[in-house]
């Protein structure tokens, strides 16, 4: 009888263990998020997505904690110090949106040596011990020119709006644009730095416009399309096709123009919800799953067909977004193996 009871208990215990297996392994794990910058709509949406998804995950006991930290200034040295603090605080995993792909490698190495899982996304780190959920920024540049080739088979003049000088995202997108433009009939006649901000882009474009020939289209990096449109609107030039970057003000302007005169363009960027993808990947790694070190994030593209729908779900001042689930992360991990 006693033995039978014991046996029953063991069986019951194993069943419970087996059924909660997927969750229980990371229930006591703490994940920290080191973010280098929060000063634009994309980053704000990213932090909100993180809070929403990880808040739910903590509540349901998937992980013990998922705290987000943002450095007060967008500086690699500060972020390195922040990561070192996280090591001291004893987190099990650190998710990073890095200020620099290389300048915090030292701190990332320290974290790995302390047995911490490091997952970087968007702003990835090159340190081999970390996981990378990278955006193919080059492809993002090429896609823009590809779209324009379809629209204007005869080519034309392009104005390029770049991001922040010296930042690798800027170099990569720009390299993609130039690569694709070289093989096309398009010619890049001007290039300005818009720092991914509408006001800076507007000033920069207004400054260069008088010196430029007719512009067929404007290739951008996101966060600068609306500024460019305003700069063009202030002149008597015809409105070129401006590639947008999924910002609400850009989509709104595009939708208004479309209603007025059938204006068409395309918009692509990375959904800020990619932070939640990184969270799930970190959770999977902590759970002992085998995950390839390099993963690629899909683009979130807005076309004329889904413009109205995306615009409706994007809050004012924010950016078009999707949040990822555990299943999305598992699919991504499986597809990369």
């Amino acid at each position: 009888m006693k033995f039978k009871n014991m046996l029953m208990g063991v069986i019951a215990g194993t069943t419970i263990l087996a059924s909660t297996h997927a969750m229980a392994d990371t229930a006591d794990k703490r994940i920290a998020f080191s973010n280098n910058y929060a000063g634009n709509s994309w980053r704000q949406a990213m932090l909100q997505s993180w809070d929403k998804v990880t808040g739910e995950a903590v509540k349901t006991g998937v992980v013990a904690a998922a705290d987000a930290f943002t450095t007060s200034e967008n500086q690699a040295t500060e972020q390195a110090a922040q990561i070192q603090n996280m090591i001291l605080q004893g987190y099990d995993a650190i998710v990073i949106d890095a200020a620099s792909p290389t300048a915090i490698n030292g701190a990332v190495r320290e974290a790995c040596d302390a047995g911490i899982t490091v997952v970087s996304f968007d702003g990835i780190v090159t340190e081999p011990c970390a996981w990378r959920i990278a955006v193919d920024f080059r492809q993002m540049g090429r896609e823009q020119v590809k779209y324009l080739e379809k629209r204007y088979p005869d080519g034309g003049n392009l104005l390029e709006i770049r991001g922040l000088a010296g930042v690798f995202v800027d170099d990569e997108i720009s390299a993609g644009i130039h690569e694709a433009a070289k093989d096309s009939k398009f010619k890049i006649v001007g290039s300005v730095h818009g720092d991914w901000a509408q006001d800076v882009a507007q000033k920069a474009v207004a400054g260069i416009l008088p010196s430029l020939p007719d512009i067929t289209a404007v290739v951008t990096q996101g966060g600068d399309g609306y500024g460019a449109a305003r700069a063009f609107a202030a002149t008597d030039r015809p409105m070129p096709t401006i590639i947008m970057g999924n910002r609400q003000d850009e989509l709104k302007w595009w939708s208004d123009e479309h209603a007025k005169n059938g204006y068409e363009t395309t918009s692509l960027s990375i959904a800020p919800g990619v932070s939640t993808l990184a969270f799930w990947v970190a959770q999977q790694v902590l759970n002992g799953k085998e995950v390839a070190k390099d993963l690629t994030v899909p683009f979130l593209r807005v076309d004329q067909d889904n413009l109205a729908e995306m615009l409706a779900t994007t809050p004012e001042g924010s950016v078009a977004n999707v949040e990822y689930s555990l299943e999305d992360a598992q699919t991504l991990i499986k597809s990369t193996k």
Binding site: Q75, G90, G166, D171
Partner: protein
């Protein structure tokens, strides 16, 4: 208890207080490993602060130190690593440019704040030219030196102590140090006693350049690679560090040991705030509040002393 003692006691006290706070919030920091993590990034800041101190000492201010350190970091991660001869020549050249900048500022009577602001764009441009996208790698010996684990006391503590002591003897005890402080305090007196103020200013700037180079190299040793914008924050951090450490904007009144402690205090203040789980929106403000608090306490002490 002289003024100099008081000047150095206050920074030590504020550092101690912050350190106690950090240890209370995060007992794990109270170890060899923890101290190293807390302070290793303070080493390049301390070196940059010493550079800034040399300039403040001769009654000028340097707004280009952050971009200069970034530039040196880029050179270290590229040329010094691949072509040591060219790399070191470039770094020596950069020091020479710094010395020349000091000489020109004095000879033409230019305001240092304008010249160094202009130079900050120059260094920033050079850094982007050398390293258009982040990368490079640290020379192996440098990396090994910064990551070394000597017994008992971590590098992150040894390095600031050594830097502080060496500079203390140079500035406070050597005859050149006295002359340089004299240039900041009363350059006419130095001039009339037959010394070349031009030469002395160039020397001060040259030494600042040397420490800027060391700061860039130390930074690369820690981060293992560089980025053209890696040290932009150092400009303001270094000024704050010197002032926090008991220095003053009116030349000649500086304390090297205080400056090093000031740099460590600033680094620690940021860690303290993040251990507090303070929202990042408040962190810059809180960092400023700590700074103002320390300076206010100092003002109270110096006033009292002046009255006595």
């Amino acid at each position: 208890m002289t003024r100099d003692h008081l000047r150095i006691l206050l920074p030590i006290f504020s550092l101690g207080l912050l350190l106690a706070g950090v240890f209370y919030l995060q007992p794990r920091a109270m170890s060899y490993f923890g101290l190293n993590l807390l302070f290793n990034l303070a080493v390049p800041v301390a070196l940059a602060t010493i550079a800034q101190m040399m300039i403040l000492m001769v009654n000028d201010i340097d707004l280009s130190i952050g971009t200069f350190v970034s530039f040196c970091a880029c050179v270290t991660a590229t040329f010094v690593q691949s072509d040591p001869v060219v790399g070191y020549a470039m770094l020596l050249g950069a020091i020479a440019v710094y010395a020349a900048m000091g000489a020109i500022i004095h000879a033409r009577g230019l305001p240092a704040i304008v010249v160094t602001l202009g130079m900050s764009f120059f260094w920033s441009g050079m850094a982007i030219l050398i390293l258009p996208s982040p990368g490079g790698s640290a020379p192996a010996w440098l990396h090994a030196m910064m990551k070394a684990k000597p017994p008992f006391v971590p590098v992150a503590i040894i390095a600031p102590v050594v830097i502080g002591l060496i500079m203390h003897y140079f500035v406070k005890r050597s005859s050149l140090g006295v002359l340089l402080r004299g240039v900041g305090g009363n350059s006419q007196a130095i001039d009339r006693s037959g010394w070349s103020v031009l030469g002395l200013k160039a020397t001060a700037y040259g030494i600042a350049g040397l420490f800027g180079v060391l700061s860039g190299m130390a930074l690369v040793g820690l981060t293992t690679s560089a980025d053209a914008n890696i040290a932009l924050r150092y400009t303001l951090l270094s000024i704050a560090g010197v002032i926090l450490g008991g220095g003053e904007f009116t030349g000649g009144r500086v304390s090297p040991i205080g400056a090093v402690i000031g740099a460590m205090t600033l680094t620690l203040a940021a860690s303290f705030l993040s251990f507090l789980h303070l929202s990042s929106d408040w962190q810059i403000g809180a960092q400023g509040a700590i700074l103002i608090l320390v300076l206010a306490v100092r003002l109270v002490f110096t006033r009292r002393e002046a009255l006595a």
